[in-house]
């Protein structure tokens, strides 16, 4: 039969959009998003808004009849505009929430339009190959030195859960009758606890190990815990180290931990969701030496590689490990006379069947900037944090509370030195005022009982002047409070 278009026929379909209408509406939305990006540096970072106001904007009953697409998009953009946090604002310092690279935004549009579904090679040969290439590239660039095996997932929680699932399946196969234990520092990310729980590791088998003054896992304590648990007949399933904790950006001593894991024959997982891309920089290239010795490594391209949400990545050294954890088929049969690519199915290596085409935005970002461009930008952000630390060190009223990578925690501490009890509400006042005024967004953290101003720089729009302004504003608000409530 002929391979002809049948436009004359499709034009009759009620639900189809006329291509010229699609183009026109597309242009209009590109215009709107151009203005959106232009406004990313504009204050307020987040307008004061109440739950009542936001609910009111989205409180209509379900639409029964349709409306014009133009009208619907106008309404959506207007409503979202008033109630959206500017995550790309140069002084958005909260959580670990990066600015989205415009290249990634446009790539994600192409991904949505192509609507490929990445279950297996046969479903989307090009998109699946692209995802596998992106995984190989991340493996190569981060110095994981694996076989380029792994997959893209929704983010750090999913990537950590994936790595742990591989570790647990391996441990259960090796020692089916022994109870499993898991090792991580007190500073490790919550998603690791969540993953352990859902994998059936009892809460009292999680070893939350102490940290040193730099908030890094203490290797001697890890060794002791492993020795004790083995003596008790328990089976250590996994040691989880952090390459960049969410609190202070701390990096555990990866190589020393790797040595312990090798000696005790335990799976070594690194949570690099935030920090792993620092391996692309000059100052933190040494991270690669730790990554090269891990069994699994998580990294979030939607954090420090500036991809729009969502995309995380789980790298796994042994392809059989993810197959063991996730494959629906009981054996790993390699048919010799069929091409390995053609057999490949992501559902043999992860929990999802329908999988969005997440790879394209990462592929485009890596191609447009190259590893060098990304490394340079990440280095610039680490250097900004160092500059801020220097400003803090030079300012007697500011106290450093812990920093690494591009995260810094500090607090205002009047030279008169009021008691600690007063410092917490004082710093809370400073943070909340900064956020309410809309010029900054910080999320707080509490370190050893000290309420801290925490900033995390994962934004290519942030500059030195933003650090200066932060110091200036903290001093202004701190002094204002001190004047009102003199110690």
């Amino acid at each position: 039969m002929s391979h002809q278009p049948r436009d004359s026929e499709t034009a009759d379909i009620d639900f189809e959009m006329d291509p010229e209408k699609f183009r026109e509406l597309g242009y209009r939305l590109v215009d709107a998003m151009t203005e959106h990006l232009r406004a990313e540096s504009r204050n307020p970072v987040l307008s004061p808004v109440s739950g009542e106001q936001s609910r009111k904007a989205f409180d209509q009953p379900a639409p029964q009849s349709g409306r014009s697409a133009d009208e619907v998009f106008d309404e959506a953009i207007a409503a979202l505009g008033s109630f959206s946090r500017r995550n790309g604002h140069p002084r958005f310092f909260g959580y670990v929430c990066a600015s989205a690279d415009p290249v990634g935004i446009l790539a994600d549009f192409v991904a949505s339009a192509s609507n490929q579904i990445l279950t297996a090679w046969r479903s989307a040969p090009g998109a699946v190959e692209m995802e596998r290439q992106v995984v190989r590239w991340l493996d190569e660039l981060l110095g994981f030195q694996g076989q380029g095996h792994g997959l893209l997932v929704s983010g750090g929680s999913a990537a950590n859960a994936h790595g742990l699932a591989c570790a647990v399946a391996a441990a259960r196969e090796a020692a089916p009758d022994r109870e499993l234990t898991l090792y991580l520092s007190q500073e490790a990310h919550l998603s690791l606890h969540q993953a352990a729980k859902s994998l059936g590791i009892a809460d009292h088998r999680l070893r939350r190990l102490p940290v040193d003054p730099d908030r890094r896992l203490v290797v001697a304590d890890l060794e002791r815990a492993l020795t004790d648990d083995l003596a008790q007949g328990l089976r250590p399933a996994c040691v989880c180290a952090s390459a960049g904790t969410a609190n202070t950006g701390a990096v555990d001593p990866l190589e020393a931990i790797a040595g312990v894991c090798r000696r005790f024959k335990v799976w070594f997982h690194i949570d690099g969701a935030y920090g792993a891309p620092a391996a692309l920089t000059e100052s933190h290239g040494h991270l690669k030496r730790g990554f090269a010795r891990a069994d699994s490594l998580s990294v979030d391209p939607h954090k420090w590689l500036f991809a729009p949400f969502d995309v995380g990545c789980s790298l796994v050294r042994d392809p059989q490990a993810s197959h063991r954890a996730f494959s629906r088929s009981s054996e790993y049969i390699r048919v010799e006379n069929q091409n390995e690519n053609e057999q490949f199915a992501f559902f043999d290596h992860g929990p999802e069947l329908s999988r969005r085409f997440r790879a394209l935005k990462v592929w485009a970002i890596l191609n447009v900037h190259g590893a060098q461009g990304l490394g340079k930008e990440i280095q610039r952000q680490i250097d900004l944090r160092r500059y801020l630390d220097q400003r803090i060190a030079e300012t007697p009223e500011l106290e450093a509370l812990g920093s690494d990578l591009s995260i810094s925690c500090f607090r205002y501490r009047p030279t008169a030195e009021p008691n600690d009890e007063m410092l917490n509400p004082l710093n809370r006042h400073i943070l909340e005022t900064l956020v309410t005024e809309g010029s900054f967004l910080l999320s707080p953290t509490t370190l050893d009982g000290k309420y801290s101003l925490r900033i995390c720089i994962v934004n290519f729009r942030t500059q030195r002047s933003d650090m200066d302004l932060l110091v200036e504003e903290v001093l202004r608000l701190g002094r204002g409070w001190a004047d009102r409530f003199p110690g």
Copy 2:
């Protein structure tokens, strides 16, 4: 401080894209995707491609230095074009893979550009309200008659896993010391087994119940299994019914099962990932009566609501159930003097922290078409399946093997009636030839040992002429084989 833009400053940033460049590139990509959509009806549905060819297109090492965005996008679109399946082709009948509504594609672009992250209300007041509204709308439109509680996830597997996690947490709380059991038909979706496994329900505690000739769960067998298990001191955690199985679109007797669940006090989950939107039609409005009695219901807007990948939805009747299963906080404390909306966090009700803004595309599709427009289109697709069934019934060489909703299974069976052993390779030959020629894409299924041609219509481009062509082509290929290998 002033709320001024600082374009002069941001323009200096190496990583920022000039807004006018963003606009220009955006227009160019809109043009490219306009052509992509125009070509969706063009053959081949999937070009013959080898694993070697596709790998060759994506086999370069990781890029070290950058390149122009224009060049990168040209390369991506060219490479993907040759290696992509046209999931929106009118004769794509495989799996359950819908055509993407252009409205949803454009909305997804806005979602990527706005880059909101939907962890909690405070992170994205507008986007979070919109997601909650979409969930309320789906609740209302499908007749779930809940409180509009639930959340959007990556698809049917995740939605089923979410509903089951709620059921299991409730059962574990009610009977901490009893072993859990789960009930589903032999035709239930694989993701339910997967979810049960990951929730720690032993495989031998899954009751895979027999089906009747229409492939619907047999209620008497369910009652017997529940009675037996209770007598043994086991705790039934959940009964899973299907509203549209993947094999034949079969809908279990939902209301009868609901009655049993009420009597035995067991959680009632309905997997409506594919079929639930049929409740919007005249012919299947009665599905609502079953949904209204379920404790949880999964539905995939990226299937029969034509949203681009990915978006599934889990509706849950009792908000405390998802809180119990997922909340990181130990108690469900409602602070009375704070607005309920402002307290809301999706991470208290589901497994993810970072969550993409999936709601916008569903919101836009529901607004542009309305429930009526969607119901009419889904009805048209069900009617197309009925038309095909009629053609099959009228054609002596075709044998119907099971159909419901918009799925139909049949096979070519020469009137000479060769033995069953011959029919399987014959129908495999037909299917594989149709796919290789590129005019159709079907995925096979095997029913009671019979290799079946299975078609699933979830595509607004499919028309009656496509049904006629399918019958014609199956007959042509079947007769050709019969001529070569006369019975």
